[in-house]
């Protein structure tokens, strides 16, 4: 069910706070690419996905594969906010023996649907899961989020070709198009050129929206669900580090950055 604007915004703020606390407690992490996907995570988990925190492995549930696996902490914050596990556990991020490793691990974290982190692979796994759901005819929707830098991986396009060939209209993918990667702006490292045209030419239904506009995300998912015979790509124009001004200002360097206790407090203050 769609929520009102204030509720969406409040929920995203909460998830951003939890994400920052999760990473800030450790003092370093993939902050930028976590904060850029919080709004889509909010819409998915609070208004779209059929999941049950009490039964994370429920048959026929909708699934989300974070192919840009380094955004694990944003997913963990979302899952904790939904009650998949206690919020206190967020403080264990990347501590030896934790259930919350930097990159998503389906065998460790309740609610994580696929182990990801080797870029490009999670997207293929999502295609495999969508094929599986079609075979089982269980009516599930398979969501996946890929990075823009990740889109430089050849495997992304192998999977894109197959998903269109198999007419996987149960597959709804997002590109977190924040235009930055570790080594700098995407356009300086290796440009994606006309990204929507690329996906269209691969036979996908393509939408491009403001990735921080909850209603736009919600509507785009609704449109994707109504699209028959084609997988959907929703390109999210986002800001890496969205929501915390000093993190946004770091730019490409916020991919994996340290955060002091003082910065953590300032970030939490800004996200009130």
């Amino acid at each position: 069910m769609v929520m009102d604007k204030a509720s969406f915004e409040e929920k995203s703020k909460e998830i951003r706070r939890l994400t920052i606390e999760c990473i800030g407690n450790l003092g370093v992490g993939h902050i930028g690419g976590c904060l850029s996907i919080v709004d889509v995570l909010t819409v998915l988990y609070y208004s779209q996905m059929n999941v049950d925190p009490a039964n994370p492995k429920m048959e026929g549930r909708d699934r989300l594969i974070i192919s840009k696996g380094h955004a694990g902490p944003a997913l963990y914050a979302t899952l904790a906010s939904k009650g998949f596990f206690p919020k206190d556990e967020l403080y264990t991020l990347n501590r030896l023996g934790t259930n919350l490793p930097s990159h998503c691990d389906m065998n460790k974290t309740p609610g994580v649907d696929m182990t990801t982190g080797a870029l490009g692979q999670g997207f293929s796994c999502a295609v495999g899961i969508a094929i599986g759901s079609k075979i089982k005819k269980d009516g599930a929707y398979i969501y996946t989020i890929i990075g823009d830098g990740e889109s430089q991986e050849g495997q992304i396009w192998e999977a894109a070709m197959l998903a269109a060939h198999k007419k996987l209209d149960n597959l709804i993918a997002f590109t977190d198009y924040n235009k930055l990667q570790i080594d700098g702006p995407i356009d300086e490292v290796n440009s994606l050129s006309d990204l929507p045209a690329k996906w269209e030419s691969f036979g996908w239904h393509v939408q491009r929206i403001d990735g921080h506009d909850h209603f736009a995300i919600y509507e785009a998912i609704e449109k994707a669900k109504k699209t028959e015979g084609k997988p959907s790509m929703i390109i999210l124009d986002t800001i890496k580090g969205k929501g915390v001004s000093f993190i946004e200002a770091v730019g490409a360097g916020n991919h994996n950055m340290p955060i002091t206790k003082e910065q953590l407090e300032a970030a939490l203050q800004e996200l009130r």
Partner: protein, 309 residues
């Protein structure tokens, strides 16, 4: 019967009753004999085209959804080409995917060096949790298929495609994790895998004429290696020769050296591809070119026996 025909017909038989089994090809279904499965199981047998990396991760996704996918290609493309996908999407993620590579080592014949996997076992062996199995004949392959499905975890099936001389009878009791002592002996152990078992049996004959009594073991599963059977044998014979259609680095020789170095140090000699790339030729020509022959195994066995003194 060709090995690929046995492989595909066993899949067909199992797919009839087990809806979890999925077969994914990467444009080699004709070579691997799996094409016909698509007519019978249009949803569960399909092709991804020439895209092995995608195939491996798609299979992992299907496995996470409760399916048991078999993915097929030639050995080099089923292993070294997709090493990271095997390591992460399949093994690290604990996904129950069966990887099938055909034309191991020199059996790629006229496809030559680009298609010859001299390192595939080494690549896969160093990935935690992987099982590596190389059948020697149609009987063993047929008996192995239900066991591979039954085993809950990733398996690399290194499959010679064409017909192989029969080694086992129908009453053979197969154990995926137990090496077969094909012939008992007391002077030297010959541990062989794949097409090198036949050469080893011929080597056994050559040695017999020289008064040497060889114990011949078929190591069909190279990982996890059946160290009990190996150690029991070398404790008796006091020396060992390995024979494999693979680089001598990383494969059967390495696996056996790891076992005996730690537990029972005896002279080791080896027959295999000596750290060089493949080239075009017929199987028989290539056996001679790379020294993968009964004569070479026998010569190494004599060296090993000599080294005991």
């Amino acid at each position: 019967m060709e090995m690929r025909a046995v492989f595909a017909s066993e899949l067909d038989r199992m797919m009839e009753s087990d809806e979890r089994i999925v077969v994914i090809d990467s444009d080699l279904s004709k070579a691997n004999g799996t094409l016909f499965l698509r007519n019978k199981y249009p949803e569960r047998a399909f092709d991804v085209g020439v895209a092995e990396q995608n195939m491996a991760s798609v299979a992992a996704g299907l496995a996470s959804y409760g399916f048991i996918p078999f993915i097929t290609s030639f050995c080099p493309f089923a292993t070294r080409r997709i090493c990271d996908q095997i390591a992460i999407s399949i093994a690290y993620a604990k996904q129950n995917v069966k990887i099938v590579g055909t034309d191991p080592g020199i059996s790629a014949e006229l496809n030559g060096g680009t298609h010859m996997s001299m390192e595939d076992i080494g690549v896969v062996r160093s990935i935690p949790s992987m099982v590596i199995f190389e059948p020697v004949d149609a009987v063993q392959l047929k008996k192995s298929m239900p066991k591979i499905v039954e085993y809950d975890g990733p398996v690399y099936l290194r499959l010679f495609r064409k017909a192989q001389p029969q080694i086992f009878n129908d009453d053979y009791e197969f154990d995926l994790f137990k090496a077969d002592v094909i012939q008992e002996g007391k002077d030297v152990t010959i541990a062989a895998s794949g097409i090198m078992l036949g050469e080893s049996l011929r080597a056994g004959e050559i040695l017999r004429q020289k008064g040497i009594n060889a114990e011949i073991i078929n190591v069909h599963t190279i990982k996890p290696i059946d160290s009990d059977t190996i150690l029991k044998s070398v404790a008796k014979t006091g020396c060992i020769v390995t024979a494999e259609n693979h680089n001598i680095i990383g494969g059967l020789r390495s696996a056996i050296a790891e076992v005996i170095c730690e537990k029972c140090q005896v002279p080791l000699r080896s027959v295999g591809v000596e750290d060089i790339f493949g080239e075009v030729g017929t199987l028989e020509e290539l056996k001679i070119r790379f020294g993968l022959t009964a004569e070479n195994i026998a010569a190494k066995a004599l060296e090993a026996v000599e080294a005991k003194k």
